[in-house]
């Protein structure tokens, strides 16, 4: 948010940033690493065994960025290009470690029938007059999920819960919801189909909500519970 970039379109800002990187301006590179390095390390963990290996892959990515910025054609956004390099390097590194590739099992479409993340115990069973409906009320005029989730301390909590997600779910959620990549970009980086991507995103978001549920309902704690 410096004065020099105010009023510029995002694409102009990015063009200016790329030009500065090509001229060797350290400030431009520092801005980039401050913004993305930790994210790259976190994403690399999808493919490599541990934190030091992820750190190494992220640092190799920056070397490739420095060397490749002169030939970067801007077909993708700078962020998408950088994350794509990271994904490729992390996949190769994981393969060298002999790790089984996380998405190898996702070449065929996932069975939708297995996608239910919210257990049947949350809903009235078939035959019950409320069959298929929640067994407990979610509606609460007092509750405001945005207010709870936007509270300052919530960020760390959400990040911890994301880190605790299974690797496939985590990867899609990081790319789509945390970093704002499109479905196509996420599919390309992960090497999965659009429908599989959507299933994984659905499971990831559903699980994340389950893990955050006590926090979402915090507003209820002041209300006397009956029975």
């Amino acid at each position: 948010m410096t004065g020099s970039t105010s009023g510029m379109l995002p694409s102009d800002v990015e063009s200016a940033q790329i030009a500065a990187l090509r001229r060797g301006e350290e400030d431009a590179f520092e801005t980039l690493i401050l913004r993305h390095h930790t994210s790259l390390v976190r994403l690399a963990r999808v493919w490599v065994r541990d934190a030091p290996a992820a750190e190494e892959v992220a640092q190799e990515t920056w070397m490739a960025v420095i060397q490749g910025i002169h030939t970067f054609e801007g077909r993708a956004s700078l962020q998408s290009w950088i994350f794509g390099i990271l994904a490729n390097k992390a996949k190769r590194s994981g393969a060298r470690e002999g790790r089984s590739q996380p998405f190898a099992a996702f070449r065929t479409d996932i069975d939708w029938g297995e996608s239910r993340e919210i257990g049947p115990e949350h809903f009235y069973p078939p035959g019950h007059e409320g069959s298929g409906h929640w067994t407990y009320p979610l509606a609460d005029v007092e509750s405001s999920p945005e207010r709870h989730l936007l509270a300052e301390e919530a960020g760390g909590l959400i990040l911890r819960e994301i880190d605790a997600l299974p690797v496939h779910y985590r990867s899609v959620l990081l790319l789509r919801d945390v970093h704002g990549f499109s479905s196509d970009e996420a599919c390309a980086m992960l090497g999965i189909s659009a429908s599989n991507q959507r299933v994984l995103l659905h499971r990831a978001r559903t699980r994340l909500r389950i893990s955050l549920e006590p926090y979402l309902r915090e507003g209820d704690t002041r209300v006397e519970q009956h029975g």
Binding site: G24, I118, F123, E146
Partner: protein, 88 residues
């Protein structure tokens, strides 16, 4: 284009609704399913809250602040950037 989701006709239950929320947010539903989804939203006291919670979680995920870069790594990367430009 990937195929959009279709579910059997009739009123949606909450149990079906929760499994369609991502398709809804991704705009990956056929029109009949979308109509049933919208009808359930109007009918059900609880599922609008569920949808609101999911949207809030997606929104909050988009503004997360990850850990800071350590000064050591920053300095190491900056010196490699400098070396590349001075050497090249």
């Amino acid at each position: 284009m990937d195929s959009s989701r279709t579910v059997a006709p009739g009123d949606l239950t909450c149990r079906e609704f929760v499994e369609l929320v991502t398709d809804y947010l991704e705009n990956a539903m056929d029109q009949p399913t979308r109509d049933r989804f919208d009808a359930h939203l109007l009918d059900c006291p609880d599922c609008p809250v569920y949808l609101q919670q999911m949207k809030a979680i997606v929104g909050a995920s988009g503004i997360l602040r990850e850990e800071d870069l350590s000064p050591e790594v920053r300095d190491a990367l900056l010196s490699r950037f400098r070396a590349w430009h001075n050497g090249g």
